[in-house]
Amino acid sequence: MMVLGKKKKIKWLIIILLSVVFVAITVSVIIVSQKELPTEDLRIAREALSEAKEAEANLYAEKLYKQSVQMYDSAMVNWSRENNRFILFRDYTRIIAFAKKSKKVADEAKDESIKKADNLSKNVEAAFVSLAKKIELYNKLFKNLPLSKSVFDAHNKSKMFLSESKIAHETGKLKDAEILFKKADIYINHANTAASKMLRDYFNDYPRWKRLANDAIAASKGGNKVILVDKVAHILYVYQSGKAIRSFDVEFGPNWMAHKERSGDKATPEGNYRITSKKERGSTTYYKAMLLDYPNAEDRAQFAIKKRKGLISRGAGIGNLIEIHGNGGRGFDWTSGCVGMRDRDIDDLYRLVSSGTRVTIVGSIEPLATVTGGVDF
């Protein structure tokens, strides 16, 4: 009887125990199932991040994009941590908050990126226009100046960088386009600054040129023919009675903007000269020629002063044989400092003037503003 009672007790104990376990499991399942998992929020955050990346937020809204990535990563780390805890003690609130924040910031990053990319695109386009104007200015005012190779190269490099920038812009690489544009801008600014300085410095002598030109024109008023050479315009005028009766295109040496001061400098002298002799065909290698009295007294004086000051090397000579000669019409400045003309033009000039004719060579008859057509540079 006692054994039977004990067995019954155990049986009941087991039933009660199992019932408790069953109830506990059921309650736990209910509790767990009531808990909101962060799955959907994380999916949304991930997709928002992906869209932000697609909008290149990592480039144009870097800070926000990084924040969003960090929040997503934090959500994932926290989720993993929570999952390692006992199921009944898990709390996904923070994870959901991180995921929601990540989505919000990713959206902001996307919007900011689109806005910034759009602005950048507009800025780069505006910069292209500004750069094209600078290139145009160079082509209009400076292209024909005897600029140094570095200036010339800087101009060409700027054009190449501009092309590269345009390609980058077309392919949507706006940051690259901006970097390349900035390089192009640096080069064109260097070229234009150097060229404009050269031009302005050169025109510092304009008052002297003006005086020389006026004197030459005045000297022609008695009926004498006077030759007036405008280096910037590359024109040789023949004046008589105060009026230009003929004009010819001329060429000079590659260093024509400088005033000749020594032998071999490829510069054309500026000042008052005279034709000392006329050379017929056969007497010159340049078809026909008219020799000038360079160096004149003033040239010699200047040469001596500069040599004393050490501005000209001790071994340098002053140079001579500056002529107005033929074989020109080449379209560029090729002489050793002489004034080059087309053969048919020197034929005409040869007939017009004689030995002793005054030849005045100036940098420019017109002031800088007129030469540049009023272009601001």
Binding site: L18, R46, M76, S80, N83, N156, M160, E164, G331
Partner: protein, 197 residues
Amino acid sequence: MKSKLIIAIAAMGVAVLFSSCAKVPQAEVDAATAAIQEVKDAGADLYVPEAYQALVDSMKSANEKIEVAKAKWFPNYTKAKDLLVVVSQMAVDTKAKSEARKVELKAETEALIVEVKALVVENTELIKKAPKGKEGREALEAIKSDLAVAETTVTEVEALLANGDLIGSNDKIKAAKEKATSIKTELEEAIAKKGGK
């Protein structure tokens, strides 16, 4: 006898409960992560950015699936494992795409180099035929200088290519081609004008 049966069933239940706690597929995760890193090292984020981004997104999705499974009473990683297999395969495909794009880009750049070099030679010949009157010669000097820049760019592109900068070299050679082509057009127009006179 009955009580023994009940105890056995309860014990089995507990055993099943614990045996159901499957392990996180860490080996698959590690393999997929390594594969993605390999793809990135191969430059896929530069050469096939869309495909690379899709790969990264898929890996994130797989990680989420793992956590979803972990959050359950009885974790089941089958879906996550399946996705990780897909990710690993995607990594292989993306790497192949990236390599193919690199080959394509290199071939395109090399072809453009040949093209630009030919244009430089052609332009040099055209310069000889171009009119050299007033303005003409100066314009030609400017063109020569422009051409020299295009020529220098080719050298730069070759150096970039040798250094493995496939995108930079491709962009640069395209600009050089544009320049060389515009010079050619300019010269041909000048020659045509001369012929027309």
